[in-house]
Symmetry: C2
Subunit: 195 residues, 2 copies
DNA sequence: CAATTTGACGACCATTTGGTCTAAAAATGC
DNA sequence: GCATTTTTAGACCAAATGGTCGTCAAATTG
């Protein structure tokens, strides 16, 4: 006997919850808000995800997976390397302009809010940054081998620099969004590091 | 009649409160924690600062003022420009290494936690970033006029870039602190932008 | 010294928090 | 159609939240 099947789609619930956490952060998000966003009853939510923290981890994992998927799409090894890097930078310019800018980034917000207090979260954030850095480095190494990097540019250092720059843009644009200057910044970066 | 004078020093209380907010963030800091840190009773705290939010604003103002003071000290117009910029970058390398790294930055954390929901906070954060960017730009313009900047580097764009990079380093180093790579990143920056 | 102003303290309060549990309903397999 | 299983809804709970208020002591001033 299988019993009654679940009425909601857990993936949809995670997606909705992710939206709330993204907008408000972990502590500022209350259970009632999550219930309304997911259209779940308290009982269903707890049965499916354990507790608020568990649901948050699922939402964070989703956000991280989406981010890395986009990164991989941009840095596709079959494309021209510099085009890939440009696409990646352009994506961040978009995300740090307009309405999206004010929403910020769930990873950055979580890193600052829980990064040093919640080991499970810390692990996930650390892995994300490692993964992002590694992907950038791989792309930059390919660019270097194709002699598309400016002389003296070291892929590992440049990868770290680009990652910090992009995440910093998300911080600053939370309150000082300005498409023009984001654009100019990534252009300056390309001017200095590529050839 | 003047009445009984206050027993505690409000500045000390703000300093202590700042420490707690810095470590835990706004929402995660409870009143009892603030009372213990400041050695104040509930009544005294509310009489002196209005409420938790008011105290937070005072603490944030303090943190911002301290940051700008340090920045001005580093970028002292009487010093050699590049030395000043180097000092500024070196300070961020320090702050993104060791124990300080895990503590993060109250401004960055606040920008992400409350930046788009609390107008009073948003205003302060925006002003800080504007001020930081302006100071960096002034220094870079001076460097440019002394022909110490690499060809084609625009002070305004470079200022924004450096600010984003430095704040991004604080984000990443919350979970992935690594003195060596911070050091390498700022060195790469100098190599590319100064001459 | 006396009067008065004021600060400190902590009991107190309503609200909200995250989390549990029960009872009814619904879908399944026989 | 029945028995079983699982979901659902929401009443319920203890604890913690931010915030208020009355009492008492202390310090200043005339």
């Amino acid at each position: 006997m299988r019993g009654r099947p679940r009425e909601f789609d857990p993936d949809d619930a995670i997606e909705s919850a992710m939206g709330v956490f993204w907008t408000s952060g972990y502590h500022a998000t209350s259970l009632p808000e999550l219930l309304e966003a997911t259209n779940l009853s308290r009982g269903s939510l707890y049965a499916a995800f354990g507790d608020k923290h568990g649901l948050f981890l699922r939402a964070l994992d989703r956000y991280i997976a989406d981010s890395l998927t986009r990164l991989d799409a941009d840095l596709d090894p079959h494309k021209d390397v510099l085009d890939g890097i440009r696409a990646c930078l352009a994506r961040y310019v978009e995300r740090t302009s307009g309405a999206g800018a004010k929403r910020g980034c769930l990873i950055v917000a979580t890193a600052m809010e829980l990064g040093s207090q919640d080991v499970e979260v810390e692990q996930r954030i650390r892995r994300f940054f490692k993964a992002m850095e590694a992907r950038l480095m791989t792309a930059l190494e390919r660019a270097k081998s194709e002699r598309r990097l400016a002389d003296g540019v070291e892929p590992s250092t440049a990868a770290r620099l680009i990652m910090c720059l992009l995440e910093g843009m998300r911080v600053v644009s939370k309150t000082n969004a300005d498409r023009g200057s984001s654009q100019a910044v990534v252009q300056a970066l390309l001017d200095r590091f590529a050839k």
